[in-house]
Structures are given as structure tokens and as C-alpha cells.
């Protein structure tokens, strides 16, 4: 059990760090787009990388943010009924629907994007929407990693919920 707890704490830490990494990407995103606009109007020298680089950054912010948002339980819920349930009722609802919906969805997303990453790596796929032509697998690796850590954080939260459910603890 102690090893398990250590692993769970470790994954929780990674989820917390993921928020910190994504934070810096926000600053890079603002500066890079503003730089492109400036380069185009002030120096008449538009960058070739801005378009592709920007959407990569934007998606990286979302993907890396996923475990962080899940860890902080910040996904939108319509909690009109949920907030009226007793803590035990909430735990049961979360556990059942996580098993039924969260795990299949995120597992299959990991599979779908993981296979796509593998293909991109094997054939050296490049992005063709600008004349920059960067290789795509590092970008797809970030997406897959975000989903993998979302899945792991899901397992950790699931175990914690189960423990609380069976110990009969009443904290929310």
C-alpha cells in the first residue's frame, strides 16, 4: 500500500507541474503572435513559422493542462443536483460514471492519438499548412502525453474515491 501511495502522490505532483509548464507556454504564445504581427507591419517581414507554431502551442496548452484541470477538479459540472447530494452520494456517482465513461473515453483517445503518433514518427510526417514544414511527431507526443497523464490522474482520483467510499469517510 505504501508503494501505491507513493506512486499516487508522484502522479499528483506531475499533474501539478503540468499546470506550471502550460503557464509558461501561455506567455510564449502571446509573445510569439505579437512578434509575428510586429514583424509583418513594422519590418514587413512576416515569419513563416508563426501560424503552425501558434496552433501547436495552443493545443499543447490544452493537452498539458488536462491532468492539471482534472487534478483540481475544475471540469465544468452542472451541479444543480450534484451539490444537493450527500458526500456519499457524490462519491458513488463519481465512481460509477468514471468507470463507465471516463476510462473508456480517455483510454481510447490515448490509443487513437498514440497510434497516430507512432505513424507520424515512422514516416517522418511534416505539417504542410505553411512553408515551414516542421516534423509533427514531437507535437503529437505532447498531445499523447497529456492524455496519458490525464488517464493516470483519473486512476489516482478513482482509487482515492474508492478508499473514501469504503472507509465511510464523510469529507467531500
Amino acid at each position: 500500500m505504501r508503494v501505491l501511495k507513493k506512486i499516487c502522490d508522484g502522479i499528483g505532483k506531475v499533474s501539478e507541474w503540468s499546470g506550471w509548464i502550460a503557464k509558461f507556454l501561455v506567455i510564449v504564445l502571446i509573445v510569439s503572435i505579437a512578434y509575428d504581427v510586429g514583424a509583418r507591419y513594422l519590418f514587413n517581414a512576416p515569419t513563416i513559422w508563426s501560424y503552425t507554431f501558434s496552433y501547436m502551442l495552443g493545443t499543447a496548452i490544452i493537452a498539458i493542462g488536462l491532468p492539471y484541470v482534472y487534478y483540481h477538479n475544475a471540469n465544468v459540472r452542472v451541479d444543480v443536483i450534484y451539490s444537493k447530494l450527500r458526500p456519499r452520494g457524490r462519491l458513488i456517482l463519481d465512481v460509477v460514471l468514471t468507470a463507465l465513461l471516463f476510462f473508456p473515453m480517455v483510454f481510447l483517445l490515448v490509443k487513437v492519438f498514440g497510434e497516430d503518433l507512432w505513424q507520424a514518427y515512422l514516416c517522418g510526417e511534416v505539417a504542410t499548412d505553411s512553408i515551414w514544414y516542421p516534423i509533427l511527431w514531437p507535437f503529437k507526443l505532447v498531445i499523447t502525453l497529456g492524455l496519458v497523464f490525464l488517464f493516470l490522474q483519473g486512476i489516482v482520483t478513482f482509487i482515492a474515491d474508492l478508499q473514501r467510499l469504503f472507509k465511510g469517510g464523510n469529507e467531500p
Binding site: K23, G58, V76, D79, L97
Partner: protein, 445 residues
Amino acid sequence: MTGVDPELVAFLMFGAAIVGILLGYPLVFILGGIAMFVGLVTLGPGVFTMFRLRIWGMMTNYTFLAVPLFVFMGLMVEKSGAAERLYGGLHLAFGGFRGGLAISTVLMGTILAACVGVIAASVIMIGLIAVPSMLQRGYSKELTCGSVCAGGTLGILIPPSLMLVIYGPMANLSVGKLFMGAFGPGLLLSALYMTYIAIRAWLKPHQAPPISVEERAVPRLKKLRLLLTGTIPPLFLMLSVLGAIFFGIAAPTEAAAIGALAATLLALAYRQFNWETLSYATLQTVRITSMALFIGWGAQMFVGVFLRLGGGDAITSLMLAAPFGSWGAFALIMLIIFILGMLIDWIGIVFIMVPLVAPLAPALGFDELWFGMMIVVNLQMSFMTPPMAYAIFYLKGIAKPEWQITTGHIIRGVIPFVVLIMVGLGLCIAFPQIILWLPHQMIKF
């Protein structure tokens, strides 16, 4: 799956999603989980490729990048202290009139709306400043709460607005045009709110008394200076962002990046910029962006399966068969969105409903831009109609015990403003030019 009508499956999946969402499990996993199951069972493993391509389409969409940028801009404005200065100037200028503080509140909401794109930021900012100020001077609790909720909600209508940034790509409309189209209805609602407050304060002076003479005894020059220093910086910020879009200098995403930088400069100028502010703004940006656009991924999966099963055609034929022709169909769509707005978060509504109903506009003979704006104005009510009403939640969330505000006060307070939004919708139907005039003046390039 033979023998089962695929359209029936599509509608069952919709019903299951509504039930799941109302139970309170996170929206995105309900949508994605149901789509996975139904898709796999009815369409087979080929559905995975569709999911990947649809989500990839969202990931590589340049317009959606405006979401993190506008969120950051709003958070920076919130932390810059611009709201306090703005209210400081406005309340001295208008406080002497009956209802003047409530009018200042709506005006502050209107001006801040042009700097932020999310209502959380504006309701909280306005509430914290204006509620104590109004209650101290004997304003009725209902009017206080109503004006804060209504004024704060303008943030998601008056551009830049996150709702429009998401609406555009989902309906294949230009976000820049949507921004310009939202000005008319936004200012119209703001004017309706202020007129209503003025009339109510004139009829029932004890609900909204003018501030005392001693308090107003500020030299006229100082009053003017406070008003100007309070209003000019946010207006300048607004012009830098919207002007760039209007004159075709920058795409909305680029304008948003400029706005994010400008808001940072504003915070610097007000000496509120430090590591803590930046850390807060960036982390909240990650949180909101990841949460909102991940719902988009889930909705893409859901809508993909729904359309593949023929749900879209079923909706079209259902709407075209509505009584009273295209206006009957229009009324039905508006009613559905109004009811969904009571129950579900707006992000879910826009991501799911827009791909399904926006294609109906040309079929029914409506202007797409006008039709979209009617949906967006309609969704203004969703923030104030319980049980799922963000403006009420946020105001309740920041209410201090000494204010003695209950949810009942807030709900009674917002009812007149919801009615005013319906009046606004009626005016936009009678005079479509309110929406369409400004986008037609835009410089095309």
C-alpha cells in the same frame, strides 16, 4: 445494429447526454464517453478515425487560439485595478441622480465588457466594487443584484467575447464580423437596462436614492479628472483590439495577442504588475482554456456520431415541418436554446447546438450572421435563469455575510433584466439593422 432506426439512436444519445449532464458529472466525459460507446456499437472501429480527424480539426484551428489570449487579457484587466478607477470616476459623475449608482454599475459593465470576454471576471469585479457601494446608500437589494448580474453578463456579448470566438468556427462564420454584429445588440441591451433603472428609480425613489450632497462636494475639475483617468485607459485598450479587427489590420487571434500585451501594459502603468499577478493570470488562463476547449473535443466526438447517424437531417426535417413556417421553426429553436440555457453550461450549448442549428439558417431563409447573433443574445439569459445561472452563482459566491443577500434577492432582482433581454430580442427581430449595420461598414480586404 440492424432493425434499429439510427435516427432513434441519435435522439436517445441526446437524451442520455442531457440526463448525464444534469446528474452533475463533468460535461466533457459525458459527451465523449457516450460518443465512444454509441459510435463503436453503431458505426464500428472506423469511428476512431473520424474522432481523430474532428479533434485534429479543432487543434489546428487558428481562431480558437483567441480563447487563451482573450482570457488572459480579461484576467490582466481584472488584476490591473482598472475597475476600481472606472467606478470611482463614474459614481461621482452619476451618483447625484436617482438610480445613478445602478446606472454607473451597468455603464461599468458595458465598458469592462469591451475589455474582457468572460463573465466570471466582470461579475466578480463589478460585484465586489458596486454592491457594497450601493447597499451602503440604501439601494434595494433586488435592484443592486439585478444591475450587477445584468451589467456583468454583458461581458460575454459585447466584443471581444469568448462565446463569439467559439461560435464563429462552429458555424463557419467570421469572428470579426460576429464581433461587429454584437455591438448593436450589446449597446441596445445596455441602454435598455439603464433606461429601466432610471424609470424605476424615478417611480420609487426610496429604492435608489442619490448619494449625499457632502459626498458629491468634490470640485468639478477633480470629478472630470477622475472620470477621464478612469474611462480612457480601458477605452483605449478596447480600441486597440477592436479597431485592429474593424480596419482589417489583424485577425481576431492577432488582435487578441495585442490586447493581451496591452492589458499587461495597463497593469504595469497602474503599478499592479508583478510576478504574482502574471502567475495568477497565466495559470487561470491554462485552467479555463484547457477546460473549455476540451469540452469542444468531447462535443466534436458527440456531434460527429450524431450527424453520422442522421440526427442532423432529422433535425432539419423536424424544423422545416414546424407550424407557421420559418418563423415557427425560429421560435422553436429560440425556445429550445432558452430551456437548455436554464439547465446546461453555455460552452456545452454552443459546441453541441451550433453545428446542428446553424446550417438551418440558410434553409429557413435567415441571414446567418443575424441568426447567430439572436442565439448569442438569447444565451445572455442563460446566465440569469436558474437553476444553472452563472451570474447568480458568481454573485452569491462573492457575497459577504454583512450584505445579507440571499439567492431569493438575486433571482427577484434579475427577472426584470431577463424580460428586458426578451424585449431586446424582439427589437432585433423588428429591426435587423441593429445587428447588421456595423458588419456591413467593415473594411473588407
